[in-house]
Symmetry: C2
Subunit: 116 residues, 2 copies
DNA sequence: ATAACATATTCAAGAATATGAATGTGTTAT
DNA sequence: ATAACACATTCATATTCTTGAATATGTTAT
């Protein structure tokens, strides 16, 4: 029933979160945006060292989140699926909004003790 | 401009991802769902040991993702903001969909070398 | 061929995380 | 007051992640 009923999906989802659960990585993904970017671009944009950025790009590539393409001595990186930005933005919105949801009163535990 | 223009939001978002970047934690959050659940419910539902679940609940509580309420000897846990489920579902959908986005050809790096 | 450049990769040590085991705390029943 | 129960917390270790430093690779210009 659930979108995540399959354990494999849960695993994959948790791996996705793991990969993007890093401020530097989020910055990089947002900087790449829907287009593409070379390392020097990210370097000047974010102020991180070259090797540091490359390391993160490597992790993102390994996680199949980005793809790379060489053009001369530049290598351009882009999101495999720009929809990832939506996931990030939604999470950011979740984080930001100060309005807490109304507490949902409900209860009926189906564990052995409760139903027996 | 960007939703994440503030570094604080990026930090918070990365912390959110960090907290939910665990299969066990995702399972727990989905099991709690929009309602509330006691530990024994989660225990019988997910098949994990009690202490293990409590440890994860502790982490989720520390991250302000869930809230707890005691009723007799049971303690019910619920999402502070059920919208979190949407974030998770969207990520799961992202993970699942096999359709890769069309490559976006684009380039114009604004780093020192490129614009100078 | 050599040098400069853009970027990737490897390595290692410290930091953070995960999780099993043991134990503590608050509540209800007797 | 004691026991049983539902759950939380602490502790310790194994594993994973992070990140600075060093180095390697592929490309272009000379």
């Amino acid at each position: 029933m659930n979108v995540l009923s399959q354990n494999t999906t849960i695993e994959e989802t948790s791996e996705l979160f793991q990969t993007i659960a890093s401020a530097a990585r989020l910055e990089i993904l947002l900087a790449i945006g829907a287009g593409e970017a070379c390392v020097c671009h990210l370097e000047s944009m974010l102020g991180y060292r070259q090797a540091y950025i490359s390391q993160h790009l490597m992790a993102l590539r390994k996680a199949k989140i980005i793809e790379s393409r060489r053009e001369g001595r530049y290598i351009y990186h882009r999101l495999r699926k720009p929809e990832l930005l939506d996931v990030i933005r939604q999470a950011a919105a979740f984080t930001d909004s100060k309005t807490l949801a109304a507490p949902t009163p409900a209860k009926d535990c189906c564990c052995p003790k409760c139903i027996s």
